[in-house]
Symmetry: C2
Subunit: 373 residues, 2 copies
């Protein structure tokens, strides 16, 4: 099976593009934002909620599912789609990011990485081959090469990590046995333009059906992130989707789409929702604040999500104060709707040639974080 | 406004009856089971979930809502129906049960009761008049008199509590100002048949539109509970609904409907769901058990709820083990569906004259708790 990425429109005033990435579980219109379902569930959402929201793609985390309930178990139960009852496209990461970021790392060499489970301390060994095997057991439509995530500003570390990431990318490409999963290579290189170029050029030679951009939004500035994106997307083939891992604040969607990114994922909308923070066109607001205690208005006027169509800020605040599960559900629903709807508008504006105008109008109202990525 | 209870069918082989209780927010087919929404939300359910489940009535707790977010606030926001976006019938209790059971009690005399908030320790004074005023602010369709709940086996305590409960019932009747809420009297009397008779006879003279039976399922045996129901319902007028407070295990629905009860509420289905326990026709099972780890079957074959139509026991167990919110939602949905569907079958069997056969067939398969109520 070959994965087809159809480029529908390339914006003239920016690098923004609109396309469609076809997968065995359906077409993904791009640019796309993927809600994160770490443990085979997007927190506080059911699959039918995600269908109602029109989520074109969701992400699940290989590291978490490998540890619990186990990839073999999920395979035995028919794979991840059937297990979690989500019949749309799914993307899994390689597990590498969690291994390198959850303080579970014990040892890394060219062969692979040894880490301890955050659940029970048990020791596990991941190689490029193992990362592919686990992802083949899970059965997502889009899977990722094992890569090494380095601190973005450490040049020496990034050089060494990049060498290993490229070595592992070749071995992942080699290890893949299923032809119904699109394996993406991951561009690394920290904040160093020459390393990013080297990475994009090397990975392109392996002819992946898509390319991820990793190691960004991990402590560098927004300006550095933007520069790295510009350097990288300029070298990636136009006929393959580009996936910026772990990014998804509203302002970032605009800035990164403008720099040629097609796919995003981020825990931000679901995580902040569980702390009572919700998106509006004028910025985030926190429903815990006392000013909402008797507010009969919805989170946002004219928002078409179930939460805003049905409930007042006062009721939502009460649910949050009372630690009620429904509060987590309703704020999550709104935040995902906000980002998915925003992405639909972004895509539409690209198709209509008005992306830059939409971007300027949105950012003029939305007080996003403009410094740290 | 008068509240109409239409008795459709009186079973010949038992005291079971089928009827309809009409309220400003819709007709309640009886017998009925009401899910409990303590804090203006049935835990882990949205209003649209409850609509899908066909819940004819839900309960909210005056004690909790009075303390947080406050009855005045809810009134300002349009009342409980609008606040929680539930347009069907709602019942509120008086707050008495929580005051007497949550170790918040400080002082009780004929005037009323002084208690401390379980939230912040603040002191509050409830009188019969205050209990009515708060429930009028909340605006439920069915409201309750303030009563004193005594330990069921303590004769002297029950005599004194009954005297006070009757005094308060008169004052509540007097205090009511809204005519769009059905105020129920509450029969008390512990496990003492003569006290139950005295209570039913006295309250009947006050001509309430419905009668609740309180102080049961609080430590007495099942046999004692059944005897008290028989004594009480024999004396209550046939043309008023009878509401057994706080009861709702599947086996109890059958036994108590058979003894002439029309309305039930209970936290059991939602509470046990959050511990991973789910109802089946062959009894409860706990999804935490390791035997479900790789079970591809639903909780119950042929169950028509979203959970059973969509997910395996293995997935549900994974969600519970991983402490995922979706697990709480899906088990709650199933348990409520189980009880609501069971009650629909019970009602249908009464209308068809086959209630006793259904009861025997169900109880032959269902290993309920037959001892402690």
């Amino acid at each position: 099976m070959s994965f087809k990425f159809t480029l529908l429109y390339q914006d003239r005033a920016s690098r923004a593009r609109a396309g469609v990435f076809s997968t065995p579980h359906g077409d993904i219109p791009t640019p796309v934002f993927a809600p994160v379902g770490t443990q085979a569930t997007v927190k506080a959402m059911s699959p039918r909620d995600l269908e109602e929201l029109g989520a074109p793609l969701i992400l699940a985390n290989t590291y978490h599912l490998y540890l619990r309930p186990g990839a073999e178990l999920i395979a035995k139960l028919g794979g991840l789609h059937r297990f979690m009852a989500w019949n749309g496209p799914i993307l899994t990461d390689s597990g590498g990011f969690q291994v390198f970021s959850l303080q579970s790392l014990r040892q890394v060499d060219d062969d692979g990485v040894i880490f301890r489970s955050h659940l029970d301390g048990s020791e596990h060994h991941f190689t490029p081959e193992k990362a592919i095997r686990v992802q083949e057991l899970l059965g997502a439509d889009i899977i990722m090469c094992l890569d090494e995530c380095a601190p973005p500003l450490d040049r020496a570390y990034n050089e060494e990590a990049l060498r290993r990431t490229h070595l592992w990318a070749e071995r992942c490409r080699e290890a893949q046995t299923r032809d119904d999963q699109a394996l993406f290579g991951i561009v690394q290189g920290g904040v160093f333009a020459d390393l990013r170029r080297e990475s994009a050029e090397f990975l392109t030679t392996l002819d992946f059906p898509g390319y991820a951009i990793g190691g960004l939004s991990v402590g560098e500035t927004k300006a550095q992130m933007h520069e790295m994106l510009e350097v990288t997307t300029a070298l990636l083939p136009a006929d393959r989707p580009r996936y910026l891992m772990g990014v998804g604040a509203p302002e970032d969607l605009f800035e990164c789409v403008a720099r040629g990114v097609d796919m995003f994922d981020c825990v931000l909308p679901t995580r902040i929702a569980r702390n009572g923070a919700v998106f509006t066109r004028r910025g985030r607001l926190n429903l815990r604040n006392a000013c909402h205690a008797d507010d009969p208005n919805p989170i946002e006027e004219n928002c078409t999500c179930y939460t805003c169509r049905t409930f007042s800020r006062a009721y939502l605040r009460h649910l949050i104060q009372a630690k009620e599960i429904l509060g987590l559900h309703l704020t999550t629903l709104h935040n995902l709707h906000f980002l998915l709807e925003l992405m639909r508008q972004i895509r539409q504006s690209i198709l209509e040639g008005t992306f830059v105008e939409l971007k300027e109008a949105f950012l003029a109202e939305y007080p996003g974080n403009q410094n740290e990525a």
